[in-house]
Symmetry: C2
Subunit: 213 residues, 2 copies
């Protein structure tokens, strides 16, 4: 981790790495249009971030070039609907969505979403999620990073054949967050991610040489 | 690129990055079984490495969990058949193939391949290609790298949101090679590769700090 004289003085900068498969967040209005007025999504299982869960209900995504069925919905409802897909999904659907942080939906493309009541068009809200790390304020202090800071994270695969340093990883700090880095499925496959995978956070200001030295 | 005193003395360590989509190499025997005895594959278009081409003929891959149709064959014929797929493809097919350099097929899983004459089982030969760079001996001297050396390559995307440093990139040197780094489709999507993408080669021995400093 470091070649400083006293390694025990350096906090371990290890973060669990989780994979965020394609999913959808729904607004109240869109949930109504897809599943009926006032429909309450049924939580099927908790996911890692506290208070969030995967719903029993799923939707289908329909793009100009193809469709993907059985896409999970993450609850609870949000202010705005949001569809998070990978670049691989984009090629399949025929949609070119930008890389964005969650909730930054200005100028994003739309998509047709099919629910129990049939298809509805969303006029925007499709993104590829930018790599990010969730952490609590205490963890941010321990890591020596600030909210919205971008760091590098080195992820080493078990076989030692696809170690990858992800740059442009956004730190997101909130008391509601559990320490976890989120990659999408393309990124996870690129580094041969396996369950239990971890990353080592590299603060850019601590790096000794320039990036391409 | 470097903080040596005289930057003009340092050759630029830039390499074109190409994406290797799933494809198949066939042996004479397997080509016979798929397309008929003595069948000559018809070159459809040259690919970047000299002497290699994509054939008009395609095959379908059939795994325990799914199938992928219309997979291109890369000619000319080889001593052994080889199927190169991505991790995404593996999930679709239900096959867990190791990451290997081309031609290193010991202990690899098999797959069913469908050609014009119907399906044939291959008892081994499925791999995920390890990241690598093709280069000529002259280019190897210019880069200061040796055949089989592993380097890092930094690929920066246009939007500056998914810069990625690929580690474990194997250098392959031959007079027959054109300078080019090959990523698979998952790796290309992970770094938001676009046509014309380039990488900056980082020799590990030149790196100043440890990887996670």
């Amino acid at each position: 981790m470091s070649n400083r004289p006293d390694p025990s003085a350096v906090p371990p900068k290890v973060v669990p790495v989780a994979v965020s498969a394609r999913h959808v967040h729904l607004s109240r209005a869109d949930c109504d249009r897809l599943f009926g007025a006032g429909h309450e999504l049924r939580p099927a299982r908790d996911i890692s971030q506290p208070g969030q869960w995967a719903a029993e209900e799923t939707v289908n995504l329909v793009g100009p070039k193809g469709r993907i069925d059985g896409v999970r919905i993450i609850g609870p409802l949000r202010k705005e609907s949001q569809v998070e897909i990978s670049r691989t999904d984009e090629f399949k659907l025929g949609i070119d969505a930008p890389i964005r942080m969650s909730g930054e939906l200005d100028g994003t493309p739309g998509i047709v979403v099919e629910g129990q009541l049939g298809p509805i068009p969303l006029d925007h809200g499709v993104i590829q999620a930018q790599r990010h790390i969730h952490m609590s304020p205490v963890e941010a202090v321990s890591f020596g990073v600030a909210n919205h800071e971008e760091v590098q994270v080195r992820v080493t695969d078990h076989a030692g054949l696809r170690a990858t340093i992800f740059d442009d990883v956004v730190v997101r700090v909130s008391p509601d967050y559990e320490l976890e880095m989120h990659l999408d499925t393309d990124e996870a496959n690129a580094c041969d991610w396996q369950p239990g995978g971890v990353g080592h956070v590299i603060r850019k200001t601590l790096r000794r040489g320039p990036p391409n030295s």
